[in-house]
Symmetry: C2
DNA sequence: AATCGTTATATTTGAAAAGATATAACGTTA
DNA sequence: TAACGTTATATCTTTTCAAATATAACGATT
């Protein structure tokens, strides 16, 4: 049984974390549900934690990643901007490539 | 000002973390000082924390990574095994390559 | 105006991680 | 055998982080 290589990547802007695995996961859930509270429930994290994450994302990004509305039909909701979608796409792409890259590096520890 | 990509890699064995950045840093300090207590001081972490880290490393690895001796000349000490040195070398190598790889991926978020 | 489900935010509570302190065990050296 | 500096380990305190709870604000709908 050999060792495994694990990795985490994230995108930063000015020392603040912009996007990591968890934030991308949350953003995808928002895209599916149209709501931050529903997204939080689906990921089984507290609404507070989810809200802070999205707040941090929007404060770190150059342009808004989500549009949040309160009141009105259905009480409000949260949806992704096109900018947000392109960020997710870039993150997923880089992350996937990183895994593939590390897979090729595995042979370096197989013999150890 | 563009975003940055950061990464962390680590080596696991059977769900236990074997080597990460902090552990490698500690092992290198042990190699230089010949002592766990001196290494802990140089990294400004508690001896307790350092000891637990090395204990975990040796319990997760297939073969001993350090040799710990108590008593005797100088009170004892800790030194790396050849196996430990090869693990560090592999980790550093993979980590360096990962950075270089991610550097090349940067262009994918430069335009965002 | 009353209702609704959502976003937004503060406060409290609990758990887990880290830090500090103390002490035993060890084996060479003098 | 007494001393030394190290490894090894337990216990207590402190700090930090996550979770839970509560409540206000919002705006279309009725």
């Amino acid at each position: 049984m050999s060792y495994k290589i694990k990795s985490r990547i994230w995108i930063e802007s000015e020392k603040n974390v912009l996007l990591g695995e968890g934030r991308v996961h949350l953003l995808k859930a928002i895209e599916e549900t149209g709501s931050l509270s529903k997204a939080a429930k689906s990921l089984k994290i507290s609404y507070k934690k989810a809200w802070h994450l999205i707040d941090s994302v929007n404060k770190s990004a150059k342009k808004p990643v989500t549009i949040n509305s309160t009141g009105g039909k259905g009480g409000g909701g949260t949806e992704l901007t096109d900018y947000g979608k392109s960020l997710i796409k870039a993150f997923d792409d880089i992350n996937k490539n990183c895994w593939a890259f590390l897979d090729k590096q595995l042979e370096k520890i197989e013999e150890i």
